[in-house]
Amino acid sequence: MSDALISVRDLTIRFRTDEGLITAVEKVSFDIAPGEILGLVGESGSGKSVTAKSLMRLNGENTVYDPESRITLNVPGETPLEVLSLRRERDMIAIRGGAISMIFQEPMASFAPAITVGRQMVEQLLIHTSLTEAEARELSIEMLARVGIPEPARRFDQYAFEFSGGMRQRAMIAMALSTRPRLLIADEPTTALDVTIQAQVIDLMKDLVAEFGMAILFITHDLGVIAQTADRVAVMYLGRIVETGSVRQVIRAPAHPYTRGLLDALPKLDDLDAELTPIPGDIPSPLNRPSGCVFHTRCPQMIAGVCEGRVPGYTRLGDGHDVACHLYTEQAMEAAR
């Protein structure tokens, strides 16, 4: 897709550790169009955060990207940028706070504790814009007001520990959006917040995306949040995308046994007697990734002799709805016979 804002192809990420190379993400491909919200869902350890961080090259020193991995940033009107070819930190400014901003799960921990919130906002603006110090201050206070922080001029000079949890995440959003990035990466932005505050923050993000025309990569383990927020979903398991499609397709008609498992594990408010069905077993250690389909060790519909041997390719079920599961390749083969 040439009109994608960011295009990820065959992204494979490994970490050098004392135990050898560990694969965290394997052959992940997705596109995000300008203004689109893509939800990336998975349990902890599924590689969703590692994938997101690779877009800004924030993974540690021990990260190894496979040579065929491609991340292309294509801001309209600018020359496309190969993110993984960037070598110098100086050049990475373009993807760090420039075209891409990120907000994190722990708003408290993501502010430096001994620097005022305002100072951190101004510092970022001075790096990415040609604003003067005074103009940057004005814009920051404006942004704080825009995200609904009362008395923004006073708050500007305060420290993160003087803010409440919800307010910290609002300030984080204000800071992330102040440079007008094209893509916002939100890594579990509401997980650490109370449910009522969660809804406020999600509404705020949706409003701002519409206003600023930004795309969002929304990372969460919570399919409920995805249903409210995203346009499209990609479900990750153990470093692979197992299913991708529109929110409606994936939530109404989940195709992969793992996606179905995730949905069955959600409590249903309209049917309190319905039993929760957890996915059996634990996510395997990345040290011994299962062969074949990575989900076969926990899959209730595993086909013996097939799933543990071969990695399933993607089967297209509908417009933009793809699933990586042998159930569908087998069906397709049977239908062909």
Binding site: E89, M102, P113, I115, Q120, H128
Partner: protein
């Protein structure tokens, strides 16, 4: 600013209170030493050949005011110390402790503080750079030097330096003053002479203090660097030295400052050994002597109190520095 002044006043009051408690503990410890000052003095006299009786002891006790209740004696001791800076007379030597200590305590304190200042002046930049450097050679050699400094006892280092100096330069490097300056009043020449001698104890004490501080700084830096706010700052486009100094280094300074009081204590503890090897009669070893050889509880109490007071004072100043560095401390409950 008002907030800071308030913080300083509260902390000062707390330091005074701590000192008062310390004086109570020190005084109690002095009491716990078997025998009283009167008995000890007379026993000492006895060894010199004069006979004593129980009546003599009683009379001496009354003369020294030892027949008064414990708390009254403490109050009078602490009153003299706090209001007049007087520690009374030594049990055995029967001379005023202030005269006995003279400049010695200040000289000891000066040597320790200089050693500590030197240690941190080296350890902070080197520790920060080594924690952020990916150069394996730099890191390994620093680690080696630093473990070497930790593992080698101070007295061994002192002996080695003295030996080398005696063999190669015919100079034994002991003492803090040349003979002609020992009892002379302070002058520019005496001070220069002091500096010419004092570098060695400062170096020896600073050696292990540096090694220790280097480990502390490095560990604190590695800890800060792995925190989310550093990743978040990188995600906003900060990099290189600007990121290093403004984020992890700036935030590691607080705990580093915090460890100063503790380190002063360690250096003080090491001073007597180094002092007795280098025969620095002017420093440190007086405590050992008063405790071990003659059981002079008045003198020992005075020295211990002065040591503790120095540590309380250093902690007071590090608290102030911490408040300047970290808004959370400044705005904490105790600061108002």
């Amino acid at each position: 600013m008002l907030q800071f002044a308030q913080f300083a006043v509260v902390r000062f009051a707390m330091a005074l209170f701590t000192l008062l408690m310390v004086s109570l503990i020190v005084f109690t410890l002095m009491e716990l030493v078997p025998g009283t000052c009167a008995e000890r003095y007379l026993a000492f006299k006895n060894t010199q050949g004069s006979g004593i009786s129980v009546e003599d002891i009683e009379a001496e006790k009354r003369r020294l005011g030892l027949d008064r209740p414990f708390l009254v004696r403490w109050a009078s001791w602490v009153g003299n110390v706090f209001l007049r800076g007087e520690f009374g007379d030594s049990c055995i030597l029967r001379v005023n402790i202030n005269d006995l200590l003279g400049d010695k305590f200040l000289i000891s304190l000066g040597i320790c503080l200089t050693a500590l200042a030197l240690a941190y002046a080296i350890a902070v930049p080197v520790g920060i750079i080594s924690a952020s450097s990916r150069n394996p050679w730099l890191n390994e050699s620093l680690r080696f030097v630093s473990y070497f400094g930790l593992a080698m006892p101070n007295f061994l280092l002192a002996l080695m330096i003295m030996l080398a100096s005696t063999v190669w330069f015919g100079e034994s490097l002991t003492g803090l003053f040349s003979n002609e300056y020992r009892d002379a009043p302070w002058s520019v020449d005496k001070f220069l002479n002091f500096l010419a001698h004092a570098w060695l104890p400062v170096f020896i004490l600073g050696w292990s203090a540096t090694a220790f501080a280097l480990q502390t700084v490095r560990a604190l830096m590695l800890d800060e660097q792995s925190k989310l706010y550093v990743t978040a700052a990188r995600a906003r486009g900060l990099y290189g030295r600007r990121l290093l100094w403004r984020y992890p280094a700036r935030h590691a300074l607080g705990p580093i400052v915090n460890s100063l009081g503790f380190d002063l204590n360690r250096v003080f503890n090491e001073l007597p050994i180094v002092a007795s090897i280098l025969t620095l009669t002017e420093a440190g070893s007086l405590l050992l002597e008063s405790l071990a050889r003659s059981n002079d509880q008045q003198l020992a109490g005075a020295i211990i109190f002065l040591l503790t007071a120095s540590i309380v004072a250093v902690n007071f100043f590090t608290d102030l520095a911490l408040a300047l560095l970290d808004p959370r401390v400044r705005k904490s409950v105790i600061g108002g």
